[in-house]
Symmetry: C2
DNA sequence: GTTCCGCATGAATCGATAG
DNA sequence: ACTATCGATTCATGCGGAA
């Protein structure tokens, strides 16, 4: 039996498209990332105009296509913002352009953010979902579906728990949903496969750093698309949620960020604390093995 | 005070794009429809190839743009099918092309089909969500948000009893402008505005029509975008779910279907039962007033 | 130790105002 | 006219202190 080696954490400080050039072809099993959204987080990333978003992203996705293994998967968390009262179309255009690069648009998972930003506007309600686009290099890719199966009882229970009290109240006030009855049906089976809808709250007020997405999100995809010893990449690491989860799950991990503060913080948390350190200078490569 | 007239049901038998030509410009307040999916329900509608879907749909959306009032809304329920292991891109292309026709892509609601039974294929899980695309003719359109407010969770009750200091402070800062006019909002705040994610179970067991369109779905949009006495159109009527709900809610309704069986069944249910009938021949116009 | 309750805070959006 | 900034709006969640 082969034991996976200790997870190796690699941190790169710099522009994602540039830093990716140092990675080998066909070396990554899973890419999970949440790039800066158009015109968001200007103070951190400078803000990318919606009209230039596709143009900005394509060189990066070309590199990602190169470094991903043929059996690997790319999960892209993204959502278009409202511009002049309309949803902007850059995400749609990005999908079409990435297909021209050679990517296959295999699936679109939906992330239902139970605690989305509040607000009320004359023509729109709160936006409580984001896209989780799945891209692949070929039709056959690694997918370990059993790894994300849930016990039927637990699943039904957690489904109910995940619905939150608010949803339950709302459900009951709705006509003819029939949801409760279906739960009873599911209880007769042992295990169930999930669907392509993920219900997760954002982790907003967590300790020091607020994560763009909850740990459960990369965890789910890491389970589904990799095995221990595989390599996970996040080219927009931010607060290192993906890397933290990957390490805990015995996967090698590579993180890139243009903000040195994020890289050094990830270094302290994921590398230095174990005294497995080879710390180089700013804009250099940090490696722990 | 004006009382809305009895809901008027108009049924048209024939091709949607053709039959729409008999409707006046700017006469419809809300269009809610679920068109035949590409290559699906082939036995009924003749099947539209995914590659030709956009081309097939655009003449129809042009007519819909003409008949919709400037303040009206078009809700399109659609989901791309999987072709050769990939999600097909016809929905993305359709959105881009409809914008060229003059439509505004205001929002994308998400329909989460909760009772979708867990299942799987080798490379994907069960698809349990569909798009509900919202299109408009102009940025200002009719939206009656209060009509779809939902009960808050129980947790909110305690919050109501004791307004937090934060909330009080926010209120005081607002008093300056309008003598605390908004205070009433907080004290009566037992309802919240919904989000753009709709949780509704499908209704699977309906007669012959395979589309499991729950009544709660058109009901929600009819409440949100129309008032009693307004006119609702469904150019792919099918089993007449949208019309049935519209009639019950005191909205005039127009339904079109290429299948005579659907038209005559809708006639029997929605018109003849009230003996308000003017039944004409096949491929003619059925009207009850 | 549980449970309860107050509290801060988010990948937001709109309309008005200012340059 | 067109862009940049600012104030107002709003609610689910997890944390931490209190009962």
């Amino acid at each position: 039996m082969k034991y996976p080696s200790q997870p190796r954490i690699t941190l790169l400080h710099g522009d994602a498209a540039t830093e990716l050039k140092s990675l080998s072809d066909n070396s990554i099993d899973l890419i999970v990332t949440s790039p800066p959204y158009a015109d968001q987080r200007k103070h951190i990333y400078g803000g990318i105009s919606p009209d230039l978003y596709v143009e900005w992203f394509l060189p990066l996705s070309a590199e990602l296509l190169r470094v991903l293994k043929p059996t690997g998967t790319f999960i892209l968390n993204i959502k278009e913002r409202v511009v002049n009262g309309e949803r902007h179309t850059y995400v749609l255009e990005l999908i079409l352009e990435m297909r021209k690069q050679g990517w296959l648009w295999t699936e679109e998972f939906m992330w239902h953010k139970k605690n989305c930003y509040p607000g009320k506007w004359p023509n729109r309600f709160r936006d409580s979902w984001e896209r989780l686009l799945q891209f692949n290099k070929q039709r056959k890719f690694n997918m370990y579906q059993e790894a994300v199966m849930v016990e039927m009882g637990d699943w039904a229970k957690s489904r109910l728990r995940n619905l939150s009290d608010t949803d339950k109240v709302r459900d009951e006030s709705r006509v003819g949903s029939g949801f409760g009855k279906k739960i009873a049906n599911w209880l007769t089976r042992d295990k169930a496969f999930p669907t392509n809808v993920l219900h997760m709250a954002t982790e907003c007020s967590n300790r020091d750093h607020s994560a763009a997405f909850p740990e459960a999100l990369p965890e789910w995809f890491i389970k589904l698309f990799t095995e221990p010893g595989d390599t996970v990449l996040d080219p927009f690491m931010g607060s290192a949620t993906t890397l933290r989860v990957a390490k805990r799950m015995q996967r090698h991990a590579i993180g890139i960020d243009i903000q040195e503060a994020y890289v050094s913080r990830a270094y302290e948390e994921l590398v230095e604390q174990e005294r497995q350190l080879v710390l180089l200078q700013k804009r250099e490569k940090y490696v722990a093995s």
